[in-house]
């Protein structure tokens, strides 16, 4: 068996690692090791025990366990006596395809102190071939690695960790459990458990209702009021409803107790106290009716206990179900991760799990296949459907050199690409992390809710007690029965859940919906702020335009145009500025050979200078020429004309004398004009920010239709411009590429970065548009408005529900209208109010971005 694990570090590790001792050589004899392997190919459960026995017979294996259900094998072995290959060999003999699945190994790491070490160790360990994921938990001081057994030298892992200055414990501290259940599984389990409780409580409810009110159900003859028979039947109901209280309502009491110990009260407290009060009252009435002034007052309310429990539990079950749908977006994203990839290794094309693709692998993609990781096309071309990541509905044409994004679908042709990002660095992984983080953040609007909910449940209990006292003291006869009904109804109708759920659920759906449309919203705060915006500042280059300018005009003062362009292009030879590249490309496309340039210097916001063939050449805008007191002369008119056309005139000066103008224009993106119009129709002021001169800026502003253009803004003063607008009381979103204008993005109320499709984790941005189109800005603002509207509906509904429901339950309508709520109706209302909130939040799932 061959291992690739012998050459220890590949290109992913840091350069300093080369100075470290060769991994493995410093390793002494290892203690016992424990590994866990997937044995997915095991044909039947009966194979497990013989396989374990066979493994244990191997010399050096101390213990082997094979679990046919989880399909995992755990082997404890002495690495000095047996290699991991031998173990895998046995597994392979039995038809288990070990090479295709990852094993997990968890070890204690000692000496870890700082959070920065974590990343260092992870990176170093991930550099060991065969390891596809390493994560260090600082709190538990453990390292968990996921690796392909066939390709991994575990001694190298140990060596690598040592080289970083830490040590691995002798053996895994605990077995690695099977992968944590997905939220979906947890939800499903919770739902089933609640539904079982519901059916039980519902089944008990029917006889309980019938026998609690024999008169209504025509059994007055058999069970006359105050008869001994009726008392016995009621006693039986008490016994029947006790399991409802303890089993179906058991979680209320566990929650009640846990909350009580923490000096808090919640929904469990309210429901738990309510149904227990009804049951206890009834039981006292059955056992010692003599306590009541009149025999007919010794009524029972077992039906309240049973029916309220049934309804509330049903409500909780529906809520769990609905909540599951709220997190659908993230599950969809996770589900996008492809399972396998075809890579070329050793000249042969093999199929491997997608998570085993390493940097630099050449991956083959056929039509209809999902692209496994991020990369760059090296051969072939195709149209790729990127809608699931960027939200762009039309397939994108891809050629050699173009980037491809993992999880997108290849439509038409076949191609090969080189993997440039794998594992948790892929765009999809970054998106998933960002969305998860954002869905867990809080929107500022939640603050009021938090304040209310911290006082809510105890306040309801006080209200219930006051209700009881007032009804008992001043209410009609039978006072004790009315007082009890009011007490229970108040406790039950109150719904702190609807309040608590309102914001987070909508936020979760809204942020998830954004991700589906290629809009990554960093936090609840960002989502909330985005709906209050009144001004959108657009950085011109790369945002409104394609960011790829080209030479449109060359004006020569005296010499010929080719010379002007040649000088300009020669200067720009060393430049990476887009304008420079455009000029170089313009010269090359006209067949002009460039001269040698030295002493290149960029003058930010103004231009560049260099020495070309011994001549001092300066290329730049008018300001630069004026600063240097160069005579612009007749060229001023030409420059003005070009600027009026929205082009950027660049003066070319040789040895202090201006010889001509090279005009460069950046073309607008196709949808810029429409997008700006839509933004204005949405009531937003659109401002353009550009380093261009006033004329150019105005020309473009007119063509695009923006309200205002801020011209001649130097890159470093963009943030100041934002501050100036903010000082005028505007709430501003700044839209830029996230790299050159990071300070401005950070300064704005909302920074929106136009992603390049390959990097979405743009720090300065509150919102990242995966696909660099202004349409995303519109969708983001629409989504923010829709989500905030939804949140406000939810909060309004929840506040109104509680502030109407509670007084009515307390009997405020009774003196005037004789209306008193039944606890059963209260239970139904309460159960469905929280379901309504979650359902309303789920309506956001139907959000469709309106076209521009």
């Amino acid at each position: 068996m061959t291992t690739i694990g012998t050459h220890t570090h590949d290109t992913r590790t840091c350069p300093t690692c080369e100075a470290k001792p060769e991994a493995g050589t410093t390793t002494q004899r290892l203690e016992l090791q424990r590994i866990e392997l997937s044995v997915a190919g095991l044909s039947c459960a009966g194979d497990a025990a013989p396989l374990a026995a066979q493994l244990e017979r191997l010399p050096g294996v101390r213990e082997a366990m094979v679990n046919p259900v989880t399909e995992r094998a755990v082997v404890v072995f002495d690495p000095g006596a047996i290699g991991i290959e031998a173990i895998i060999g046995v597994l392979e003999e039995r038809g288990v395809d070990v090479g295709r699945t990852a094993a997990r190994w968890r070890l204690k790491v000692s000496g870890l102190k700082c959070a920065s070490c974590v990343r260092r160790v992870e990176q170093a360990v991930e550099g060991v071939p065969g390891i596809h994921d390493a994560s260090v938990n600082l709190a538990t001081e453990t390292l968990t690695i996921e690796y392909t057994p066939k390709r991994t030298d575990l001694a190298a892992v140990r060596g690598t960790v040592r080289a970083e200055g830490f040590d691995l414990g002798p053996e895994p501290i605990r077995p690695v459990e099977a992968a944590a259940p997905s939220p979906g599984d947890v939800n499903a389990r919770e739902f089933r458990s609640l539904m079982r409780k519901f059916w039980f409580a519902a089944a008990v409810s029917i006889p309980t209702i019938v026998f609690s009110y024999p008169t209504i159900f025509g059994m007055r003859g058999i069970l006359p009021p105050e008869s001994m028979t009726l008392r016995l039947v009621w006693g039986a109901l008490g016994l029947l409803t006790l399991p409802v209280l303890l089993y179906a309502g058991g979680h209320f009491y566990r929650g009640l107790w846990a909350a009580f110990r923490h000096r808090t009260a919640d929904m469990n407290t309210l429901i738990g106290v309510g149904i227990a009060a009804a049951w206890l009252y009834s039981t006292v009435a059955v056992l010692v009716p003599s306590l009541f002034p009149r025999g007919d007052l010794a009524e029972v309310f077992y039906d309240v206990t049973a029916v309220v429990t049934a309804l509330v539990v049903l409500g909780q079950a529906l809520e769990v179900k609905a909540k599951g749908r709220s997190s659908e977006a993230i599950r969809k994203l996770i589900g996008l991760q492809p399972k396998t990839a075809h890579v070329v290794r050793g000249g042969r094309e093999i199929e491997i799990p997608a998570q085993e693709v390493v940097l630099g692998d050449i991956v083959v993609v056929r039509p209809g296949e999902r692209i496994s990781v991020d990369g760059e096309i090296t051969e072939g071309g195709s149209a790729v459907d990127e809608s699931m990541v960027t939200g762009e509905s039309l397939p994108v044409e891809k050629h050699v050199g173009d980037p491809v994004i993992g999880a997108t679908i290849n439509k038409t042709g076949s191609f090969k690409f080189r993997a440039t990002k794998v594992g948790k660095d892929t765009v999809l992984s970054q998106i998933i992390r960002m969305v998860e983080q954002a869905q867990g953040s809080k929107a500022p609007i939640q603050r009021l809710v938090d304040l209310v909910s911290s006082y809510f449940a105890p306040a309801v209990m006080i209200l219930a007690l006051l209700g009881f006292m007032i009804w008992y003291t001043f209410g009609p006869q039978p006072a004790v029965a009315y007082a009890l009904i009011v007490f229970v109804t108040v406790l039950i109708i109150a719904c702190p859940c609807a309040l608590g759920l309102a914001t987070p659920t909508s936020l979760m759906v809204g942020i998830g919906k954004g991700a589906e449309n290629g809009i990554l919203i960093r936090s609840g705060q960002a989502l909330e702020t985005a709906h209050k915006l009144d001004t959108i500042v657009l950085d011109k280059t790369g945002t409104m335009t394609k960011g790829q300018p080209s030479v449109t005009d060359v004006v020569a003062a005296a010499s010929d145009a080719a010379f002007v362009l040649r000088m300009a292009a020669s200067v720009e030879r060393g430049s990476e500025h887009p304008l420079g590249e455009a000029i170089v490309a313009g010269a090359q496309s006209r067949g002009i050979a460039l001269g040698e340039s030295t002493a290149f210097e960029a003058l930010p916001g103004r231009g560049v200078k260099a020495v070309v063939e011994g001549k001092a050449v300066v290329l730049g805008n008018r300001r630069l020429m004026e600063e240097r007191a160069y005579e612009v002369g007749d060229l001023a008119a030409a420059a003005d004309r070009l600027a009026d056309e929205g082009k950027t005139p660049m003066f070319v000066a040789v040895d202090g004398k201006i010889i001509g103008i090279v005009a460069v224009a950046d073309t607008l993106k196709e949808d810029t004009v429409a997008a700006v119009r839509t933004l204005k129709n949405m009531g937003l002021e659109v401002v353009m920010l550009t380093g261009d001169n006033r004329r150019t800026a105005d020309a473009i502003a007119r063509a695009v239709g923006v309200d205002r253009a801020l011209a001649e803004v130097l890159p470093e003063t963009k943030a100041d411009e934002i501050s100036r607008l903010q000082a005028a009381g505007k709430r501003i979103a700044m839209v830029g590429d996230g790299i050159n204008d990071a300070p401005a993005l950070a300064r704005a109320d909302i920074g929106i970065a136009m992603g390049t499709g390959t990097d979405v984790a743009i720090e300065a941005a509150d919102i990242t548009l995966v696909k660099g189109s202004l349409r995303g800005v519109i969708t983001a603002i629409q989504l923010s408005r829709a989500t905030m509207r939804n949140i406000k509906q939810n909060l309004f509904g929840a506040f109104i529900y509680n502030s109407l429901g509670l007084p009515v339950a307390a009997g405020i309508l009774y003196p005037a209208f004789g209306i008193l709520l039944s606890p059963l109706i209260a239970a139904a209302a309460m159960a469905f109010s929280s379901v309504t909130v979650v359902t309303n939040a789920n309506r956001l799932r139907g959000f469709v971005p309106k076209g521009v």
């Binding site: 600082l138 944590a180 939800n187 929650g255 808090t264 867990g440 006292m469």
Partner: protein
């Protein structure tokens, strides 16, 4: 007013008093975070609430709160520490650290996603 009514009202008012005192007025004293290697850390068990729910730390030193969730109730699935812009998903049974450096003395609450469970960090 008959005697039973007076009794009911007295007991009721007393209960209200107890509720107000127990849930709102009294506060647990809190637990001092353990200090090791310059890091102040505390383990918080999440089960129907946070135990301990008040952590006392010194300012200026990094704090590591380690959360271990011992229940499956969805409510406590996530812990949020808004003042430090931190939040974490708490898989059942796993220890999840949250780290931050408090600079200003004061009380900083941490809550579950819905704000029902509450705890606080007291920075001295």
């Amino acid at each position: 007013m008959t005697l039973d009514k007076v009794l009911v009202d007295i007991v009721g008012l007393a209960t209200i008093g107890v509720i107000i005192w127990y849930f709102w007025l009294s506060q647990s004293r809190g637990v001092l975070a353990a200090v090791s290697g310059g890091m102040q850390s505390a383990l918080i068990v999440v089960k129907g609430g946070y135990t301990p729910d008040t952590i006392v730390v010194q300012r200026g030193r990094p704090v590591r709160l380690i959360f271990r969730r011992e229940e499956s109730a969805l409510c406590s699935e996530r812990v949020v520490l808004p003042a430090f812009d931190k939040s974490a998903v708490l898989p059942e049974g796993e220890e999840v650290p949250i780290e931050f450096i408090p600079t200003e003395p004061g009380e900083y609450p941490f809550t579950c996603h819905m704000g029902m469970l509450r705890g606080r960090v007291v920075v001295e």
